[in-house]
């Protein structure tokens, strides 16, 4: 069950990278092209990592945390699949400045970060008791 903790940490790092890079973009430190190519690299690891965590939760019979994670994981996968064919990934440099996309990406990353931290600590909190029971 240590892997879950590690994966959680990795996913949190992914989300943190989103936030940092997006705020860089907001402040004009980097341009949209490099920002998006950077971010798009992290989308797949994040999606996979989160999906794996969710599945592991199911396997380890953490029902509550699994159910909590399921919608978010689904959303991640949905978002990844629904990228239009002409776009360069979830983050598209030609559109990120339009229609407030930057803001919505930022908001989404923030919510995810909060959510992951919450799940992470819930898991940490529940882990010892569970481990002590089994051992």
């Amino acid at each position: 069950y240590i892997p879950q903790v590690y994966i959680y940490i990795c996913v949190c790092v992914c989300v943190c990278i989103y936030i940092i890079t997006l705020s860089d973009l907001e402040c004009d430190y980097i341009n949209a092209r490099s920002c998006c190519s950077k971010l798009n690299k992290w989308v797949v690891p994040e999606v996979i990592g989160h999906a794996v965590v969710t599945v592991l939760m199911l396997i380890s019979l953490h029902w509550f945390i699994f159910l909590l994670n399921l919608p978010v994981a689904t959303w991640n996968i949905y978002r990844y699949i629904m990228v239009p064919s002409g776009n360069m990934g979830v983050f598209d440099p030609t559109e990120i400045h339009n229609r407030g996309q930057l803001k919505s990406h930022m908001k989404e990353a923030m919510i995810k970060l909060g959510f992951h931290l919450l799940c992470f600590f819930m898991y940490l909190y529940s882990c010892p008791s569970w481990m002590t029971l089994t051992t």
Binding site: R33, S85, G86, M88
Partner: protein, 1190 residues
């Protein structure tokens, strides 16, 4: 501040009077009344005069003090220009100058610090410029300035504006003057000269100067060598150096009869229309002859005002304003002029149709003519002509009408100072008031859409004029370059949401301009925090500091900026051309370069597959290129290259010294490389013979090709490699779906779905290859222009990405064939001519800034948004338009004006780094009716079209259509809910939005958004691309074509352009009910003209105009009108060529007879009619009404 002000007793008495007049102008009716307002009022009254031109003119005299306040605001903005523009021959101007000196000094001493801020150095300067013959103040402007010692002066926000306004008018003049000159020689022109000193302000165009002007100019030059452009009016006195002050001399020549006519042309652009309508009276005639008298009159007016109670004064004041303006014009004779006012005036004149003098009056147009007469009789002591000074002057003068007294001036100054501070505070509230009053009659007039059937204007729909005071209005950016959907900006986002109208800007920044001030200066003055370029709407706090109008930071004025090269004088930063023109171009220093300016580099990537050879475009292209090879924009470094491709990619070695071009074939399209990287792009001048050889050979080189594949992707990769060291322009000619190598595409169109009413798919790109390529190109400053000439589906949605994100342009010629489709062939030929020879800017970036509180959240157009507000444009061309959407992030309650500035930094084809800056200033309002009053329906529709394109791609076409309909329903419902007295059973729209439903219906029937009618996917996508990248004027013609009946053109209501008589037939509704079999109709769709001939059309018309004996003998494919020597033919041709001259791409004419297959193209544009798939206009209205009632 205001309260603190002290008025000299004598002055004090004057003040009330003035205030009253100002009220007049302000037009603010009765709302006024606050005592505090009075204070402001007094302070502001000067400005009031100037501003007078504002709509108010007609306003009831009864207006109370409040009016004055409003006027103040208005004035504050405007005051300078009116006065300054022209000097009266009589001295008025001169006197003013002298006064200024004295007054300025005195006033300063008198001023408190507070007040001092309000005092603007500019004022003084303005005053100075005038030479006062009367006063015999031989003051040289330069000398005078020093004396004046502006230091104490700090311009209040308002003030600053005013100053700027003065300068702005000058700009206007230039532009307008050009128009003038071109149209009628008789009209006096302003001559612009370059000042060699320090920085040169070079006006790009030199208007033709009349003989008189020439004389003047010579004089000026003699006295002030190389003083910048000043307009010389008949002025004789030019000898005095004073001229320097005024950059442009307004031309006030009574000769105006012709000029007026010509002016009409120019006026079209100007916002003036409203003004003109308001000021039908022609006081000008009387005024012009009596110029000297007028000054006197003004004075008299003042006197009267003082004596008389408030109501009377109002009228008089207005008169005064007019007079002042006139005086200025008259002053022209005297020689020097403060040019600023004049340009605008010209426009106005044109609009009004009056003589020149009238134009002046136009600004103050509202003023009733009778009053003018009265005032004119009185003798005027001083030149009111000086715009900036004038207010002060006027105030001062009233007490001692005949003799300009220094004390009087002082008073005036003080007032000024006081006013300004007040202005800022008041401005917002005042603005609102004034708006309501002034505009309600017209733009808010309720229109019952279901009953009023004739809502189209007689001629083109004018852009609404922002409700600013006349000074600012004159300074403001031309609506052709810069338009906002709401010319009255709502104060808060909540108010904007209530109005249900989109807020955004429509830009045409690189438009071909006939007059453009070009400034060479080692330091370009910009705000230190937000990097805004100094512009006419900044305020000068004192001579050394200016306050940014976007972020409100106070900046220092650099030493260099203190010197005005135009006037060769020191200490008048507000007179610099940057501050006098809302559209300027800077020659940038090396600070603005990341690398040395690139040369012009052109690469042509040509499809030579069987399909392409069959279509025959190569012949046309090579022919055009050969013809225009010498006209390609560029300098001695210009380079050019060619790549052709079918299933392989062919390069052409054109290195100098070869005996003939060498073709290098690369067949490894999976890993493309450049065979000889150094000799593929060659210097145009050194290898010209080789290039010509190639162009001559190319059309026949592939005639027997059997290659049907197209390896577009690899060819583009090769082109990118070739271009990346320099950047430049890639022109791609493609005739089919790319079928080999990277970027290959598959047909996605299902012909059976073409007329589907449900889902239209594949509006977005199929692959990101072209987008990535475009971004790579953009990063290397390379733009890709696409010419798609195909008869089959070519997936424009994917291909267009290569141009969209690299700031290129897209041309599409469906069913192109050189011999089978002559109309398209002709169109290609004409487009190419324009394309090859038009201006081009390389490695450009554009930034749009707006006043703090507003933020831009979406951009439309062809470019790549590199960072939040920086648009990367690898190339910029004069036919590209842009749109942005904005939101109001912070409440704008503490400001009365918002400004927008676009700065376009580019490398010209001559290798110069230049910055073109446009600045637009708009008022802020706090009430919903005001927002509606300022709605610019054309801009709203164009912005909605852009948004709808985005929506159809990201969501679905049906969503976009619903959104368009909802836009009308919501905004009209919101409007009707504000006007509670309206009957809910009727569909009411404010006059400003009366065309809104019609335009939206037109949009819904446009190729881009229509459903139910068979539309090819490429056609639809192309229409969408055009919506995103066309400037407003062209887009509007696309959406709602103009229909004219031309078989009975008469000489009535004609205009004269370049000695040609151009008939002006009225606009017809786009409905078949307007078509008659007996007539002939011309439809102007922007890129194409349809000439529809009725079956029973008069044979004389067919014979004279078409050159055929009768209807039956007119051929099916006719694209040109013969030159027949008959009046009707001449009229028709002059009308059509006039229409053509008004746009960059010369449209093709298509003659349509009843049996013609192109008939459907024509009839589909009759958008008010019912089709099998769409509502008629009336049904659409009922539908809207129904939805509103829900």
């Amino acid at each position: 501040m205001q309260s603190q002000m002290q008025f000299p007793s004598g002055y004090g008495s004057h003040l009330p009077n003035y205030s009253a007049p100002s009220g007049h102008y302000s037009q603010v009716p009765n709302k006024a009344a606050a005592s505090h307002l009075e204070n402001q009022y007094r302070a502001s009254y000067y400005p009031g005069y100037y501003s007078a031109p504002a709509p108010n003119a007609m306003a009831p005299v009864g207006s109370s003090v409040l009016n004055a306040q409003e006027s103040h605001q208005l004035y504050n903005n405007a005051p300078p220009h009116s006065g300054g523009s022209s000097d009266r021959p009589v001295q008025g101007a001169v006197s003013s100058a002298s006064y200024l000196h004295v007054s300025a000094q005195q006033s300063y001493s008198a001023f408190d610090n507070h007040y001092s801020t309000s005092v603007s150095s500019s004022v003084a300067s303005q005053g100075f410029p005038l030479n006062s013959d009367h006063y015999a103040m031989p003051v040289v402007s330069g000398a005078m300035y020093p004396n004046v010692s502006y230091p104490p002066v700090a311009a209040g926000g308002v003030y600053g504006q005013t100053f700027t306004s003065q300068s702005l008018p000058a700009v206007g003049q230039f532009k307008e003057t050009n128009a003038f000159s071109s149209q009628s020689t008789s009209v006096p022109h302003s001559v612009q000269q370059h000042v060699p000193v320090g920085y040169n302000t070079t006006l790009s165009t030199v208007s033709s100067a009349q003989a008189v002007q020439d004389n003047l100019s010579r004089n000026l030059t003699g006295s002030v060598p190389k003083v910048n452009n000043q307009i010389h009016t008949g002025g004789i006195d030019s000898s005095q150096p004073v001229h320097s002050v005024s950059q442009n001399v307004p031309f006030s020549k009574p000769g105006a009869g012709t000029s007026a006519a010509s002016a009409a042309m120019s006026s079209v652009r100007s916002p003036a229309p409203s003004l003109s309508s308001k000021a039908p009276s022609s006081p000008s005639a009387t005024q012009s002859p009596e110029l000297p008298l007028q000054e006197g009159m003004q004075y008299g007016g003042y006197v009267n005002n003082q004596a008389s109670s408030a109501p009377a004064p109002l009228s008089s004041s207005s008169d005064d304003e007019e007079e002042d303006e006139e005086d200025e014009e008259a002053a022209l004779d005297s020689s020097s002029t403060t040019s600023s006012a004049s340009p605008v005036l010209n426009n106005y004149d044109a609009l009004e149709g009056g003589g020149y003098p009238e134009t002046r009056s136009v600004t103050s147009s509202p003023v009733p003519s009778p009053s003018v007469l009265q005032t004119s009789k009185a003798s005027k002591p001083f030149g009111y002509g000086y715009p900036a000074l004038q207010p002060g002057y006027q105030n001062a003068t009233p007490p001692t009408p005949v003799q300009p007294s220094n004390p009087g001036h002082h008073s005036g100054f003080q007032h000024y100072a006081q006013q300004y501070p007040g202005v800022n505070q008041l401005s917002s509230s005042l603005g609102g008031l004034s708006l309501q009053h002034s505009q309600q009659p017209e733009s808010l007039r309720p229109v019952n859409l279901t009953h009023d059937r004739n809502i189209l204007p007689v001629s083109s729909v004018p852009a609404p004029v922002p409700n600013l005071n006349s000074d600012l209005r004159k300074l403001n950016c031309s609506p052709d370059s810069f338009r906002c959907t709401l010319t009255n900006i709502p104060q808060t986002q909540a108010l904007l949401n209530k109005a249900k109208l989109p807020l955004g800007l429509l830009l045409h920044p690189f438009r071909d301009l006939t007059q453009l001030p070009v400034i060479t200066s080692s330091t370009i003055v910009r705000c230190r925090s937000c990097r805004t370029y100094i512009n006419p709407f900044v305020s000068f706090i004192d001579q050394r500091r200016w306050k940014c109008n976007l972020c409100y930071r106070v900046n220092d004025v650099p030493e260099e900026f203190m010197y005005n090269p135009l006037t060769r004088s020191y200490g008048e930063p507000h007179k610099r051309p940057e501050v006098q023109n809302s559209t300027v171009e800077f020659i940038a220093s090396s600070d603005y370069m990341l690398r040395p300016p690139q040369p012009a580099v052109y690469l042509f990537v040509l499809d030579v597959s069987h399909n392409a050879v069959e279509a025959g475009y190569l012949t046309i292209l090579c022919q055009s290129l050969l013809e225009n090879l010498d006209k390609l924009p560029g300098d001695s470094r210009t380079r050019i290259g060619f790549i052709t491709f079918d299933s392989t990619v062919q390069f052409y070695n054109l290195q100098e010294g070869l005996s003939q071009p060498q073709m290098l074939i690369v067949s490894d399209i999976d890993d493309i490389f450049l065979p000889t990287p150094d000799s593929l792009l060659v210097n145009l001048h050194e290898s010209k013979e080789l290039i010509k050889d190639l162009l001559n050979a190319l059309p026949n080189m592939f005639t027997n090709t059997r290659e049907t594949h197209s390896a577009l992707g690899p060819a583009l990769q090769a082109a990118f490699k070739l271009m990346s060291p320099t950047g430049g322009r890639i022109s791609v000619f493609q005739t089919q779906l790319p079928s080999l190598g990277a970027g290959l595409l598959h047909s996605r169109e299902d012909p059976n779905q073409r007329s589907s009413t449900k889902v239209v798919q594949h509006l977005g790109p199929a692959t990101d290859f072209y987008k990535k390529l475009a971004l790579d190109c953009s990063g290397q400053q390379t733009a890709v222009d696409l010419f798609l000439l195909s008869s089959q589906y070519s997936d424009l949605a994917s291909l267009a990405c290569m141009s969209k994100y690299s700031a290129g342009c897209i041309y599409y010629y469906p069913s192109f064939h050189r011999s089978h489709n002559p109309a398209q062939a002709e169109k290609l030929q004409k487009d190419l001519k324009r394309y090859l020879t038009r201006k081009i800017g390389f490695e450009a970036v554009m930034r749009i800034r707006c006043t703090k509180g507003l933020s831009i959240h979406t951009f439309h157009g062809n470019f790549f948004v590199r960072s939040t507000d920086l648009l990367s444009l690898a190339n910029v061309n004069p036919d590209a338009g842009f749109a942005v959407q904005m939101s109001i992030e912070e409440s704008l309650t503490d400001t009365s004006l918002v400004c927008f500035q676009t700065a376009l930094l580019y490398t010209s084809s001559k290798g110069e780094r230049r910055i073109r800056v446009h600045t637009l200033c708009l008022p802020v309002v706090s009430s919903l009716p005001d927002v509606y009053a300022g709605a610019d329906v054309q801009a709203v529709v164009c912005l909605l079209a852009n948004m709808a394109v985005d929506r159809s791609v990201s969501s679905s076409l049906a969503d976009a259509r619903d959104a368009l309909v909802n836009a009308v329903v919501d905004s009209l419902a919101a409007y009707m809910s504000t006007a509670s007295n309206l009957q809910q059973s009727m569909l009411i729209a404010p006059n400003s939005l009366k065309l809104f439903p019609l335009y939206i219906l037109a949009l819904l029937k446009q190729k881009a958004f229509r459903t139910g009618t068979s539309t090819r996917l490429d056609d639809r996508v192309y229409a969408m691309c055009q919506m995103k990248s066309q400037p407003l004027v062209h887009l509007m013609k696309m959406i709602h074509p103009n229909l004219y009946r031309i078989d009975k053109l008469t000489d009535e209501s004609t205009i004269h352009v370049n000695d040609r008589v151009v008939p002006q037939p009225p606009l017809q509704k786009l409905s078949a009910e307007k078509l008659t079999r007996e007539g002939a109709f011309l439809m102007d769709c922007g890129s194409i003209f349809y000439l529809w001939i009725g079956k029973n059309c008069d044979n004389n018309f067919i014979k004279d105009v078409l050159g055929y004996p009768n209807y039956a003998s007119v051929p099916q494919k006719m694209t040109q009108l013969p030159e027949v020597d008959a009046p009707s033919s001449e009229r028709t041709r002059s009308f059509i060529s006039w229409l053509r001259d008004s746009r960059p791409l010369s449209p093709v004419l298509q003659v349509i007879k009843d049996e013609n297959p192109a008939k459907t193209d024509f009839f589909q544009h009759l958008i008010e009619d019912r089709t099998e798939a769409a509502f008629s206009y009336y049904e659409f209205l009922l539908n809207i009404q129904q939805q509103i009632c829900k």
